[in-house]
């Protein structure tokens, strides 16, 4: 009885399915419009990364570990940092200053857009990494224990 009560509710799972794309899209919106509207790379990145929490609520910690690779996120973080610096450095190689607005001078679209996107990417990867680390310290709940023991039994005969 207790395990049935603990089972992931279908409503939670459906809501997670529904809001997952919304969270991602809204996060991307905030990142891409960062230089002209409230928010920016940092806030948008956090919004996207918080989608992991939706996965956790809907499907449990095991699914989170299965779906996201912490190592991959760690590398993405580094790549984003390098991207930011390289975009800023292009200014120098075009003969102007560091972080100068080199594309479309006079337009709405600026270097700061690209740098903002790099920041968003970086924050998304970083916060996601932190969240996964944090979730992995939690105790696995009943469902997952059953699942793990079932997997163990399957693996035993070998």
């Amino acid at each position: 009885m207790k395990s049935k009560f603990r089972k992931k509710n279908i409503i939670v799972r459906c809501a997670a399915d529904l809001f997952l794309p919304l969270a991602c899209v809204f996060g991307c919106y905030v990142v891409f419009h960062g230089n002209t509207s409230p928010g920016g790379g940092f806030q948008g990145g956090v919004l996207i990364a918080s989608a992991i929490l939706l996965v956790f609520l809907g499907y449990g910690g095991g699914r989170v570990k299965g779906s996201f690779s912490e190592r991959m996120l760690h590398s993405s973080e580094t790549v984003a940092e390098i991207m930011y610096v390289v975009i800023a450095l292009i200014g120098i190689f075009t003969g102007l200053n560091f972080a100068v607005n080199f594309v479309f001078a006079g337009h709405r679209f600026e270097t700061s857009n690209l740098m903002n996107d790099a920041v968003g990417y970086h924050v998304m990867a970083g916060i996601a990494c932190l969240l996964i680390l944090m979730l992995s310290t939690l105790e696995p709940d009943e469902d997952e224990k059953n699942q793990i023991s079932a997997e163990g039994k399957e693996a035993d005969p070998k």
Partner: protein, 646 residues
């Protein structure tokens, strides 16, 4: 100036930061690639700083670089800038040389540890942030760089988590260090509320017009104490000792040689450039007083230590105290002596920390009581240590002598010309501190490198060449800068001091020509840059008299008129009181093992000062609340006194 050279400051900072990121990307699997990236980054940053010597130090140009091309609009600096004058470049050179040496040393020194990719990432970020701090032209960026510097330094202090006390030292550093960061942040907020700008040059132009505005004065107190925390001045010195003792030796070099220099740089910028109030007697007393107290307290604290690196840490703060002392004098001679000693401190203290690291790497121990006689097994390291010890104690052929000589001169001349007894006392304290430093290093060399070799260190071998090479670089620098002080004076110190003196150029190069004159800034009080070797026999006679008085006072304090006198002769002691360790001094070789431990060499001195030492020992309780309390009290007192007096 060649326009591409203008990009070198930002490129040097970015080389270190990108190096950090690339290291964490490629270094996870491939150790060779990681080392290559680290070597390229540190060498690249050093090369770019060296390339700037010609235009900035020799030709006296100032690089004002606006990120993103956001130059000032209608006299308001809206962008973020890097402003490199000779003072910044001087500190930048110190930083990059120390980073280079520390990076090369780490390759061999850290080979017993794992997860080295994190170590190098943090190390390069620390280097980049420190370089960014000294080259920045923007007050808020200085705060951000201070924070990055504190984080990475804390993480690196705790890097060997299994080492006893590593986490504890790191936590104390973080908690008490956050007081300093918050203090800087409050100072910045107050300055911004009054002046609506964060650019250093514009602040320097606008502050004199503020007059007796209480908010900017409070901001001065906050900024001074914030930078003082980063230089580990007097009430904050325990956290430096804790952090140094447990950090890896290459990081100890960074903390002592580079991080404290950031505090020194901040204080110089603050009192000479931003507020230009160093000629106010009160500010001079404040800065000099803090420096003098920290140099004396820390050198006496070093007597009590049993850990090699903790002892070196206290000496490190003591030497920074010298620098701050003479910086506070407000004379050109004092400033050049301070800069000279700051440079020398990085060199010789780095050398000493690296030798301590070599001893730790080979023996696994830093305990002064258990080590001994290593000169038979590690003769080259011993030689390097002796060079470093002679330098820090101020023995003539080495660089410590040259800069300490300038320091005594500067303090004493200021006292004589102003007729002020305070500065003469400062000179005497500096001399006594130097004597105590020498005594302390006699103790270290006796208990680590000479004497009897303990049984368990029979198999110790010399460190590999890759570790000796960085030490040799520093040792050669010790000798070279000591032998040619005129060369150093001409090419490094004089440009830096004249850059500080020439405030108008600093403001105008950032804000556009004529900006300084429009705000009534012409030239600060520092106009004349003197040459080494000012000689006035009468002054030196007076100084000799003062030293004699000081020695007499010490002798009288230690005079054995109470019944607690120690009897040195062994015949009226009972057998239980006798300790075999002292027998080698007084009689034949009765005891087989006669090594004198770290605490025993100066036991007479320590016995006569036992009340002072036991007070200081209790005062450094190791409880983080107490250290925070000292810091808060110091900040509050300085704030109160500044607001009342200024």
């Amino acid at each position: 100036m060649n326009s591409f050279l203008q990009n070198f400051p930002i490129l040097a900072i970015m080389t270190l930061f990108v190096g950090a990121f690339v290291t964490s990307l490629v270094g996870r699997r491939n150790a060779v690639a990681r080392n290559v990236v680290v070597a390229i980054s540190v060498t690249g940053a050093l090369a770019m700083m060296l390339a700037l010597i010609k235009p900035v130090l020799l030709d006296g140009q100032i690089v004002a670089y606006w990120l993103g091309g956001w130059t000032p609009v209608e006299g308001w600096a809206i962008g973020i800038s890097l402003e490199v004058d000779a003072l910044s470049l001087f500190f930048g050179l110190i930083v990059t040389v120390a980073v280079f040496v520390s990076g090369i040393y780490s390759f061999t020194y850290m080979n017993h540890d794992d997860s080295l990719v994190n170590y190098y990432t943090l190390f390069l970020m620390l280097s980049g942030s420190v370089l960014g701090l000294v080259l920045s032209g923007d007050l808020f960026n200085i705060f951000v760089m201070i924070e990055i510097m504190t984080f990475t330094a804390v993480a690196l202090t705790a890097f060997r988590t299994s080492y006893e006390g590593a986490l504890e030292g790191a936590l104390k550093y973080l908690v008490v260090g956050s007081l300093g960061s918050t203090s800087v942040l409050l100072g910045i907020a107050m300055i911004y509320s009054q002046l609506h700008t964060l650019n250093l040059a514009q602040i320097a132009a606008l502050i004199p017009g503020q007059g007796g505005n209480l908010v900017t004065i409070a901001a001065f107190a906050f900024l001074f104490m914030g930078f003082g925390t980063k230089a580990f001045l007097f009430p904050f010195h325990p956290l430096a000792a804790d952090a140094h003792a447990v950090a890896p030796a290459s990081i100890s070099l960074m903390i002592s040689g580079v991080l404290t220099k950031c505090g020194v740089y901040g204080i110089i910028r603050l009192v000479y450039v931003l507020y230009q109030n160093i000629n106010t007697p009160f500010v001079s007393y404040l800065v000099t007083g803090f420096g003098a107290v920290s140099m004396f307290v820390c050198v006496t604290m070093a007597f009590n230590q049993h850990n090699f690196k903790r002892l070196l840490a206290f000496h490190s703060i003591s030497q920074v105290g010298y620098v701050i002392t003479v910086v506070g004098l407000g004379s050109a001679l004092g400033l050049s002596a301070g800069l000279y000693h700051a440079m020398n401190h990085t060199i010789f203290k780095g050398l000493l920390f690296l030798t301590a690291g070599a001893v730790q790497h080979q023996t696994g121990s830093l305990d002064l009581d258990s080590l001994g006689g290593l000169s038979k097994k590690m003769p080259k390291t011993t030689l390097l240590f002796l060079i470093g010890a002679a330098s820090i104690s101020g023995l003539p052929p080495f660089n410590g002598f040259a800069s300490k000589w300038l320091i005594y001169q500067a303090a004493f001349l200021k006292g004589v010309y102003d007729g002020n007894f305070f500065y003469i006392m400062v000179a005497v304290v500096a001399l006594i501190t130097s004597v105590l430093t020498l005594a302390s290093f006699v103790k270290v060399s006796q208990s680590v490198f000479f004497g009897q070799l303990p049984e368990q260190y029979r198999e110790v071998r010399e460190v590999p060449l890759a570790m000796r090479l960085p030490m040799w670089v520093l040792a050669v620098l010790c000798v070279v800068t000591g032998l040619f002080p005129n060369f150093v004076q001409t090419y490094l110190l004089t440009p830096a001091v004249s850059a500080v003196a020439n405030l108008t150029a600093y403001i105008d190069s950032a804000m556009g020509a004529g900006y300084a004159a429009a705000h009534g800034i012409y030239v600060s009080g520092l106009t004349e840059v003197p040459i080494t070797g000012v000689w006035n026999p009468v002054s030196w006679l007076l100084l000799l008299f003062c030293v004699t008085c000081g020695v007499a006072i010490v002798a009288l304090l230690a005079s054995p008129n109470d019944n607690s006198k120690l009897h040195i002769s062994s015949k009226d002691e009972t057998a239980e009181e006798r300790d075999d360790k002292y027998e080698s001094f007084f009689s034949g070789e009765e005891a087989l093992y006669s090594q004198v431990g770290g605490s025993d060499l100066f036991w007479g001195f320590k016995h006569s000062w036992r009340k002072y030492f036991s007070f200081m020992h209790d005062w450094h309780s190791g409880i983080v609340n107490d250290y925070t309390l000292y810091g808060v009290v110091a900040i509050a007192l300085v704030l109160l006194v500044c607001v009342i007096v200024l």
